[in-house]
């Protein structure tokens, strides 16, 4: 079954730049997909369309049965609760501990305290940071910080995890550490993962589905693909 369906999508920004031209694709539930391409290829815009940070100028974006393009601003939170998002810059709150950072996501949606505790500890265990719950983000390595961000993204059991260059700030070892965590989540939780990256090594090693974008056009959508120029 398809979790995401993108039909005839075009995205033109207000400044006249067109980031995506006539994009058509479908992503199956439970898959792990890389979105690759050079800068300006439309990777980030594609991810942004999926979590309704941007609206398509034309076409349909359906995520988990929800027509994202038609979603009113007021109702965006309904979509966001169904997915997790991870960024290159982690976006953690420095004044909160690891535990509090992850719990924050559940507090915001009004979850009960005891349920928060159970879910947060489970998420932190899944990313291998159960021993760092009381640390502050500044005391962690980049890889660990990104894993906290991943824990926050998956704590509400989303069907879909979007990652926009999650390894962009990390050295190869830490990158692999993060990728291992993502692969585990994909396997054990069945979470669909879409990850925009330009890290060749990771894409070639992981042998996952690959969507290649170039200047806003879909060039290739390959099962078990590699990063080919």
């Amino acid at each position: 079954m398809d979790l995401i369906r993108v039909k005839n999508v075009e995205k033109r920004y207000k400044n006249g730049v067109t980031a995506i031209y006539d994009l058509n694709l479908a992503i199956e539930k439970g898959s792990f997909v890389f979105v690759i391409g050079g800068s300006g290829s439309g990777k980030s815009t594609f991810i942004k369309l999926l979590y309704r940070e941007e609206k398509p100028t034309k076409g349909q974006v359906i995520v988990g049965g929800l027509d994202v393009a038609k979603l009113k601003n007021k109702k965006v939170y309904k979509l966001r609760r169904k997915l997790g998002i991870v960024f290159q810059d982690y976006r953690l709150l420095p004044k909160l501990t690891v535990y509090e950072n992850v719990a924050f996501a559940l507090e915001c949606i009004g979850e009960k305290k005891d349920i928060i505790r159970i879910k947060v500890l489970k998420a932190l265990e899944d990313v291998g940071l159960k021993n760092k719950v009381h640390e502050y983000p500044d005391h962690l390595s980049g890889g660990e910080q990104q894993r906290v961000a991943i824990a926050r993204a998956i704590v509400n059991d989303p069907k879909l995890l979007l990652c926009d260059e999650p390894t962009g700030n990390l050295d190869p070892d830490m990158s692999m550490e993060v990728m291992k965590v993502l692969e585990d989540i994909n396997k054990t939780r069945g979470t669909t993962i879409i990850m925009a990256t330009h890290d060749k090594e990771i894409v070639n090693k992981m042998k996952k589905q690959v969507i290649t974008l170039k200047d806003g056009h879909l060039v290739k959508f390959k099962q078990k693909g590699t990063y080919a120029e």
Partner: protein
């Protein structure tokens, strides 16, 4: 349960934020305090003015004297015409005989003097006593009545009372303008306080949006923060109103200048006035923060 939990969280965040931006919060609170003290004075003054204006209005009467040669039909016609004037609230009719009896009851001197005339010779006249709806228009009403046929003289409480009512009503208007101006300044200050809070928490707000916090969840803490500022700002004005009015009332013994101007009893008036001050404080805080949220929290 969930709304209560979210409300609790919002209140906690709001209190934290008031403490975190203490100096700016204090500036807003001080501004609200000053505004509300003036608002409180305006409320106390305007309620008292209303109170004694009403008392005066109750007493203000136009006395209409009818010509001696008027027949019963003429009197009836005068009555019909008075009835038709829009500002007339009510009227009573007294024949000269009734007037004579009333005057004789009022004083011994009148009694002996009036007794010297027979009913036919009496210098008194039949009268209408007219009460008006709006005292400010009493003069024009009196003039209208005077122009009616068979009406000889019209008297109303010209002079002092008239001028006093006018003076107080213009004082009231000036107070309203000052209060409105001050409220606007206060709202502006609160907008800025909340704007600072919003920018200090922009990262947090961004994350809240990403993880699916609803708009109301994001907005509520800021609106509550404004309400807290308003509430704190009303503490001093409430104390000022309560004790200030009590002292004022005691000092003047319940009357201002003359027996004509009676002050409102302190209880329950001070409680009502305090409540109004608190409500205005909270409302001003809420309006300020709501407009800041709308302007600076791009949702």
């Amino acid at each position: 349960m969930k709304p209560i939990r979210m409300l609790g969280r919002s209140i906690r965040d709001a209190v934290k934020s008031v403490i975190r931006n203490f100096s700016l919060s204090l500036a807003s609170i001080s501004c609200i305090t000053i505004t509300l003290i003036i608002v409180a004075i305006a409320i106390v003054a305007s309620f008292n003015v209303q109170n004694f204006t009403k008392a005066i209005e109750k007493d203000m009467t136009i006395v209409v004297f009818i010509d001696n040669e008027a027949t019963e039909e003429d009197v009836e016609e005068v009555e019909n015409k008075i009835k038709k004037i829009s500002n007339v609230e009510s009227y009573t009719y007294q024949t000269k005989k009734e007037v004579k009896e009333q005057m004789q009851q009022e004083s011994e001197v009148f009694k002996t003097v009036l007794d010297t005339w027979s009913d036919e010779e009496s210098p008194l006249k039949d009268t209408f006593q007219v009460k008006v709806k709006n005292v400010e228009k009493i003069k024009s009403t009196a003039l209208k009545i005077e122009s009616i046929d068979k009406v000889s003289v019209v008297r109303y409480g010209e002079g002092m009372v008239d001028k006093m009512v006018k003076a107080f009503s213009s004082i009231e208007k000036i107070t309203y303008i000052v209060v409105i101006a001050l409220v606007l300044v206060t709202v502006f200050l609160i907008v800025n306080t909340i704007k600072l809070t919003i920018s200090a928490r922009s990262r947090e707000i961004g994350i809240m949006r990403l993880v699916g916090a609803s708009n109301i969840t994001i907005k509520l803490p800021f609106i509550i923060e404004g309400m807290i500022l308003g509430l704190f700002g009303s503490i001093v004005p409430v104390i000022f109103t309560t004790y200030g009015y009590l002292a004022f009332y005691k000092h003047f013994d319940g009357y201002l200048y003359s027996r004509l101007i009676e002050l409102i009893l302190p209880e329950p008036f001070i409680y009502q006035a305090s409540l109004i001050v608190i409500v205005i404080g909270i409302l001003v805080g809420m309006i300020g923060s709501a407009s800041a949220v709308r302007k600076y929290l791009k949702i």
